[in-house]
């Protein structure tokens, strides 16, 4: 087989998580209004302040316009044609243990390769699984509770830990932040909440799996992670969705708060349905993720592998407020067929001697358009701040595009900021070398691409790194020019 067709085959692999599971769902009527928000809030039995917050956000949202500055193109979104709340219908009041979770759902997760029960027993990772909008089961709750870690669905947190939620909700991403974050603040249905108290090192990796199952629904989850002084936690997030030929909206918000000496590591493998090869269907992934290093010497690290979604629009950022705090961003973004990604990060240096590292790898194939957009801002107070940014792009095919829009704004002369970027394709000599050693073209491409991403993959927890490598292979079948 010649390299071209090899790459084509490789890139033409199909989305294998595109099945639909028939689970009865309980949904609110289509469209968005104050009534819908009140209904969502009532369904979730929320306290008054929560409803007020949602309504404030909704009223603010009405005054906003959808952003247009990004480098992605899509048709208008009809916000009245979305179902803002869909929950798998509970058989009983709510699952108390995994045994009570709907078997159809457990089967679905098994199909995805995340059997909740298996996970619990074998890998020792606590999983919070979210289908459509609602958390369906959190594993390992008990074991975590022993050390004082709270890990539960957002709705539970609102019920059981209202003071904590109230204190931190919106403290990093206020409800006025941006169009999609504001929409999320008004209608978010569930998500994960994690609180690691002072001095506690979370004994296991925490993980949330998101799945959009019902048709015509939007998923609006909200994640809030708080690590108190000297606490540390590693958090994983994965996502899939069925294949549907209509675009579905996913507008999530993730807030991280790290107090003095705390460390939060947040890893994402995003594999929402990307649409078919002509760009029909797929998820619009408009996500706001931001962390605040509020205390001195705290650290927040984002790692993301973005292979899915028709459109990805997300900029996991870190506000480096505490002196000596550290922000990291490691990213692999892959666009194939008609996928578009506009992703990157913001590092806002406020405290003294703050450091940040950005490593972004973009891979484009087919008609994919991949944009890195970043901002490194050194404020006047950030004496001794340091940033190093590297963004590399790999182009596979003649019709794709790779773009980099980094901004660097420096207001303090003691800062050291470096930015490097390169764009290239897989070299014919590299391929030849592999072929000569008897490696099939397809494997060679996969190997080279994996090598290109290695620095990012090694930041991922082991199980995820393996999954990410496989995903890359699946998403890329067939790409050397």
């Amino acid at each position: 087989m010649n390299p071209q067709s090899e790459i084509r085959d490789f890139t033409n692999r199909e989305y294998k998580y595109g099945f639909v599971t028939d689970i009865e769902t309980d949904a609110v009527p289509r469209g968005l209004s104050e009534d819908v928000i009140r209904l969502i809030s009532a369904k979730k039995n929320e306290p008054e302040w929560m409803l007020d917050w949602r309504l404030k956000a909704y009223r603010h949202w009405l005054t906003l316009e959808e952003p247009r500055w990004h480098n992605v193109h899509y048709g208008p979104i009809d916000y009245q044609d979305i179902i803002y709340y869909a929950a798998p219908k509970p058989r009983a009041a709510g699952p108390k243990s995994l045994d009570e979770v709907d078997p159809a759902m457990v089967a679905m997760f098994n199909k995805l390769g995340i059997s909740l029960a298996e996970q619990e027993r074998l890998s020792g990772i606590a999983v919070d699984a979210i289908v459509d909008s609602v958390s369906v089961g959190t594993t390992f709750k008990k074991k975590l509770a022993e050390v004082g870690v709270i890990f539960c669905s957002f709705s539970e947190a609102v019920q059981n830990h209202p003071d904590l939620v109230r204190k931190y909700l919106g403290s990093v991403v206020p409800y006025t932040d941006n169009y999609f974050a504001t929409l999320n603040s008004a209608v978010f249905t569930d998500g994960s909440f994690c609180f690691v108290p002072r001095g506690v090192r979370c004994p296991m990796e925490l993980s949330t799996y998101f799945r959009i199952n019902a048709a015509d629904t939007g998923q609006f989850e909200r994640t809030l992670i708080v690590a108190e002084d000297a606490a540390s936690v590693s958090y994983l997030e994965g996502c899939t969705a069925p294949m549907r030929d209509k675009n579905q909206l996913h507008a999530a918000v993730v807030e991280l708060v790290a107090l003095e000496g705390a460390q939060i590591k947040y890893s994402t493998v995003q594999n929402w349905y990307p649409g078919d090869k002509d760009g029909k269907g797929g998820i619009y992934n408009f996500v706001t993720k931001r962390g605040k290093c509020a205390g001195a010497n705290s650290k927040i690290s984002w790692t993301q592998v973005e292979t899915g979604s028709a459109i990805t629009w997300k900029y996991p950022s870190v506000i480096l407020q505490g002196d000596g705090s550290v922000g990291e961003f490691y990213s692999v973004a892959l666009t194939n067929n008609r996928q578009q990604a506009d992703t990157g990060t913001k590092m806002i240096h406020i405290g003294k001697n703050t450091r940040s590292t950005i490593l972004a790898k973009g891979i484009s194939a087919g008609h994919g358009q991949n944009t890195y957009r970043g901002l490194v801002k050194i404020l006047k107070s950030a004496t001794g701040a340091r940033n190093h940014t590297q963004c590399d792009s790999l182009l596979l095919g003649e019709t794709c595009g790779a773009h980099t829009f980094p901004s660097i704004e420096v207001k303090n002369p003691t800062a050291q900021v470096e930015h490097e970027a390169s764009t290239s394709k897989i070299g014919e000599d590299q391929l030849f070398y592999c072929r000569q050693r008897g490696i099939r073209e397809e494997d060679a491409v996969s190997m080279i691409v994996n090598g290109f991403c290695r620095e990012v993959f090694k930041e991922l927890p082991m199980e995820f790194a393996v999954e990410a490598q496989k995903l890359l292979g699946v998403s890329l079948e067939g790409c050397v020019g």
Binding site: A402, T404, I408, N412, A421
Partner: protein
Amino acid sequence: MSGTANAFFEGLSRFDVKRNGHLIGGLKGLRRSAFQWVAERGFPTARDEAWKYTRLGPILEVPFELAEPTVSRRLSAGTIAELAGDLGGARLVMVNGYFAKELSSLKTLPKGAQVMSLAAALAEEEEQLAPLLSRPFREQPHAFTALSAALAEDGALVRIPANTTIEEPIHLVFISDTGASPLVSHPRCLVLAGPGSRATIVESYLGIPGDVYLNNAVTDIVLEEGAVVEHYKLQNETETAFHIALLDVRQGRGSRFSSHSLALGASTARHEVRVRLEAEGAEVTLNGLYMPRGEQHLDNPTTIEHAAPHCTSREFYKGVIDGHGRGSFDGRIIVRPGAFKTDASQTNKNLLLSGSAQVDTRPRLEIFADDVKCTHGAAVGQLDAEAVFYLRSRGLPHGAARDLLSYAFVNEMLRLVRVEALRSRVEKMVAWRLGGVEVAA
């Protein structure tokens, strides 16, 4: 875009009515529509990505009067030679954007070559020049290209016929002498380099200390197949003045263009360079140095568009920022579909010398072809503490050590200036700015 409710535009509107009365034929329509464009769209604001780092506020507050051809009493050919230097070649002097014959010295040029006032050229061949003149506004309309299209009447025309070489640099001097009231001028230059021709063009902008004026300058350079043009721009406006400029370059097959921008003066300045590599094998080099200090704000947007295969671009900009100065670099490289074997590299380095200095840099790549080699790098830093210590241990006071090291940082750019007479002038200017570093001859 912000509206037109500002002193600047209101002032211009008053004059425009008068202007339209005596405008020359074919361009009249363009001038009207361009002016109308500004009236409707207004001026860019910080919300426009391309103008994010340009401080327009202070410009829009000034009720400028429109410059007119006048004979300056303060200037003579002697003072010009002193202010702008003699580079040995033809010198064309524009006062407030209008050609001043008595101050210029036009040497004998090779047969067929033209270095002349644009107004004079327009009188003869307006129809031919009109599409060239309207191009920047048509292709990237914004308030300042529009005002240039509407109001520019004079400037320079340089035409080099095929296979002709002009050895001596052609010096275009733009001097502002405003007198009592603030003036806005719209100098306009056209450089047409025929196939296989070679020339060096130097643009110098300067003014009289204390004068308030705005230069809204647009220069077009067209290189036909195999032409080689070296371009220098010394922006040394007085520090109470404003400067907005666009250098628009189009390159044909196998042509080579280089531009060196030296931005020292003006209170707020923006020097935008756009290069379009239109045919195979074209090469471009863009170098730039900006040294804002005090309250200066110097902005350097550049765009290089690779529209054809096998083209090469090299870009190197350096900034030294002192006082409350603010410098910015916005480098865009676009590789169009089909522009395979593109080789592009871009570097931007900045040195911050004071606690209130500020720099913004955006190295951007937009790539739509796969077989390309593109790199960019940007760095912001301060003087190396060890190097300072080394010099101090040799008995240099701190200030002198700082100045010497800054000069070394800048010297890398100065050495790229190949016109000897210009280089030594600029070396002196830079040394003087850096507290009197002595330059070895």
